[in-house]
């Protein structure tokens, strides 16, 4: 029972981090119709900026949580305006290829700037150590990840359903031309959404920094996971992202524990099963993309 609860809690914290990262990917897709390969790179930048702010400049963790994602969003604005903007009216594959190029560029730039070594960031004192929870020893930091994920979830939900800004973004996602004709500044919305998606990826990077090794390969690892989340949950679906993240979180949390012989293949098996059953993803909107 205890081991079950441990696996459950662990699945949750993996899922929440995946959710925070993948939801940015999915929002960008929803509005821009772009699958952002560079998303993993932006996540990595979030972690590296945290390392710069906390590890090098000696700032506490909390301001870094604020500053690093903003810095990444600024990078994203530049990328969107200079690069991505040029291919929206083209075939979807062009934007895929372009973001793939951005991934190569970000990966290699990170290596040029920070070297290929491994870096770590210390969690703030408040989040160190363990708590006992239903008889299970559980790291405070993992609880923080779960709470952060839940907070982001609620905030996003409120943003999209309760605010004017959210309605504008949703309008732009449903029909760009229509949005344009009713007076929405669509190019601005698009830049904003891309920056926002990047901001989310970077928040994921900051959250990951104190518990994961920061090295130039971390972006590549997360992007495949994010894709799986989005495919399982459904492209363009906000609740689907949560569901997909939970599914993958549980696959990792329980698969590693109970089915170690096939743990590598499990996420893909899960994905294939979902697709056989519902090709558009668990909560995807009808005929896919």
């Amino acid at each position: 029972m205890q081991s079950f609860i441990a696996a459950l809690l662990n699945s949750l914290d993996i899922a929440m981090l995946l959710f925070v990262i993948a939801v940015g990917l999915n929002i960008i897709f929803g509005v821009l119709n772009v699958i952002n390969f560079a998303h993993g790179g932006l996540y990595m930048l979030g972690a590296y900026f945290t390392y710069m702010l906390v590890g090098r400049l000696g700032l506490p963790f909390w301001p870094a949580l604020l500053l690093a994602p903003l810095a990444v969003a600024a990078v994203a604005v530049v990328l969107e305006r200079l690069v991505l903007r040029r291919v929206y009216d083209r075939h979807v594959t062009d934007s895929l290829l372009l973001t793939f190029a951005l991934l190569l560029i970000i990966d290699e730039s990170v290596r040029m700037i920070w070297g290929s070594g491994i870096h770590v960031v210390r969690p703030p004192d408040l989040l160190r150590g363990n708590v006992s929870f239903l008889g299970v020893n559980y790291p405070v930091y993992s609880l923080f990840v779960i709470l952060m994920g839940a907070a982001m979830l609620l905030a996003l939900w409120a943003l999209f359903t309760r605010t004017r800004l959210g309605r504008i973004v949703r309008a732009a996602a449903i029909d760009r031309d229509m949005a344009q004709t009713v007076g929405i500044n669509v190019p601005l919305v698009i830049t904003g959404v891309f920056a926002f998606g990047a901001w989310m990826a970077a928040v994921g990077g900051v959250i990951a920094a104190p518990m994961r090794a920061i090295d130039p390969g971390m972006g590549d690892k997360i992007i495949i996971e994010s894709f799986i989340v989005v495919v399982i949950g459904g492209l363009g679906s906000f609740p689907g992202t949560l569901l997909g993240a939970l599914v993958l979180g549980f696959i990792h949390g329980f698969g590693g524990r109970y089915l170690p012989e096939i743990n590598l293949v499990l996420p893909y098996i899960g994905m294939a099963l979902v697709l056989l059953w519902r090709p558009q993803g668990l909560m995807g909107r009808g005929a896919a993309a």
Binding site: S3, A6, A7, I118, G253, F254, R257
Partner: protein, 413 residues
Amino acid sequence: MRTARVASRLAPLAVAGIALAAAFGSTTQAQEGDPIKLGAIYITSGAASVYGQYAQQGLRLAIEEINESGGVLGRPLTYEIEDSQGKADTAIQAARKLVFQNEVDALVGLDSSGVATALVPIMPELQRPLIITHAATPAATGELCNRYTFRVSANVNQNMKAAAHIAADTGAKRWTTIGPDYAFGHESWEFFGKYLKELDPDVELMSKTAFPRFGNEDFTPYINNVMALKPDGVLISVWGGDLVNFVRQANNLGFFEQDMEILMTVGAATEVLAALGDDMPEGVWLGTRYWFDAHDNPINEKFVKAYMERHDAPPSYNAEGAYAAVYAYKAAMEKAESTDPEEVAKALSGLSFEAPNGTITFREGDHQATVGPTWGKTAAMDEATGVRSLDPMRSFDGKEVTPSVEETGCKMK
């Protein structure tokens, strides 16, 4: 049609390309005072490129030292490095380029056992000596061995025999492992078990083990699993960035506060220790193929001092391996009084030379250096280097931990 037109335009381009290639490929015969060329194959791009970086630092240091003191056979040394990307096929192309295009006199390198198992069998085609400085798979100097292939660094066999000694001395009886889910992790556990059983037939090697995938991000499920098993001892062969992740997550879960003996097979890699700082707990056994603080000899003193001056950090085992390999070639070429690959390969077989980790001999039977790893228990932080010091520390004698040639399965060709 368009395609035909394309073909017609392409033909001269291709011919020009081939001509260009031929121009690039024009080679000159090596002259008497020309540098002796070493070809190095390491991972220099991507996530694991830190290993290539360290190896290159070791290479450069050795070559500069040797050139400052007059070179080898009156000729300076130089090296050319190619990226293996950690991939077998890329490494083979790199080796072919170094040998056939750059015409290097000898090869050093190899970071991954996958690369080694692929490259070693084709060494007879390349006809150059190769000194492996990092890849640890026993097969390279075991069933795959050949007269061109040598290894200066300790292999999994040697390291696990030493680990078994450490493990047996702890008295722990029930052992399990957490290792990366590829050859290295599985082989480490296999050899560890074999040698530990020899030393102490009473030990129990648990059937429940944990092999998270290499590059795994979250080790928590595996750590929880192992803690639930309540073993007396755990062998951890996770390494690199994964080990950094592992240790920090294990700290969070109170893994190190359990009543267990912990052995980390490559835990004393300096890149990991430097990243972890005092997150690496005290009282854990760490193994490494080379520890800068473990060898009291003038060469090591010189090496560590020169390295620290340049890089402001203690040298890692990969830097030492590459450094030692260069000195091995120097000794072999001087013994053979030639740089001819066949002669050098012959000279390397059975050669003894001085390296930072002591006097090293390439055994004639399998060309494995009879070296032993260093194991130590983590103690206080060393302020000068920013890593934990090891105390007590035990450097194994190569003779003690190197299995007999018969055991390795090597039939020298």
